[in-house]
Amino acid sequence: MAEKVSVAEVAEKMYKMVKEAQGMRKLKAMDLTKNIMEIYGDRVDKQTCKDAIREIIETEKCVYTYFGGSYIELPHKEGAANP
């Protein structure tokens, strides 16, 4: 059994994913979870992913957004807020 990955490491990896996808593709919480599970295999479980998402949101590195569904993105000024 491989060593488990820490929440902090998963959070950092997720943050990078969001950063790289920004402007190209909006990622959902479940996309992040799926990608992480693919990378780390049995070294990570769903709870770790959940905790990692909570960390990137609560440290304000990322924010939830909504456009017909919920996404996780980097914080940015709202397009619609501009006149």
């Binding site: 190209m24 593709r25 397009g79």
Partner: protein, 360 residues
Amino acid sequence: MADAPKKRTTDIGPPHYEQFLPPAIKKNYGQWKYHEILRAGVMKHVAENGDAVYTVRAGGSRLMSIDKIRMICDLADKYADGHLRFTSRHNIEFMFTDEKKIDTLIADLKKIGHPVGGTGPSITSIVHTQGWVHCHSAATDASGIVKSVMDAVIGHFENMDLPAKCRIALACCLNMCGAVHCSDIAILGIHRRPPKINHDLLHKTCEIPNVVSACPTAAIKPTTVNGKPSVTVDEERCMFCANCYTVCPSMTLNNPLNDGVSIWIGGKVSNARHEPMFSKLAIPYIENNPPRWPEVVEAVVNIIDVWKNNARKYERIGEWIERIGWPNFFKLSGIEFGKMHIDDFKHAGLTFKRSAQLTY
């Protein structure tokens, strides 16, 4: 976490309901034996031990100011020891044990403009959406039509003079935040033109694969316009649902010349007698005519009158039409049947008449 925010309270959920229950309700929780509707909007619930609670139900407008909420609170303080509840259809209920309070409460409600009714075989408050008051995809206003219709049918709110319940609902676009699709009468805002695409902005505001997959008829394809990634819409396949607009603000469907409402009838959610069923199309299009949409009001009143005059006791609109047949409904109501009434989406074949059991 260098700059950890100060401790915030989160995830506490709603307050526990028990603290809000009127004393007689709390005492007899789970011990109710039967109820009677004393008159429109006034109910008496009797517990196993003989305790009785009276409920007065007032019609509300869904859109309420805090000023009105405070006035209603004043009445709750005066009549119901500071307790009140709302129903799933925006009505306000006051509960108390002293029968003598009923008439004065009703009079006080009248003074602040709220009628009492909406119980039994009647029309109760219309559930509806935000419309032009607050929604980006509204094809019509919600509150204005609702107010105009209720002004016209308030007699059926204040009197239980219909064959059965009649549940009216309004949604201002196909998104149906108001989930009107199982109502006796549903008023549904509709767009009739394909989205206008802002090719300059689209690649900045929208994610193209999401936009493509949002289309129920696969009418949207990725493309490039003036060197910028964008989408095209096969207008022949567009049925104006606005789902693309929900995921992409650069594809607007709002169109003052063509937006309007459609009317759907005969749905229900209750299991009583007939199983739950969807509402079916009665009138494909009525143009927006603010501020009071007289054509919509007239159409709704006509449907109610025809049903009231022809249905048997306990028959809701859908049950009545199922008995007499749709051809008879169109004949009696004077509504014209046409191509748009015939379904052409998935499983449409199941809605074709597949027998010789016909009326003439």
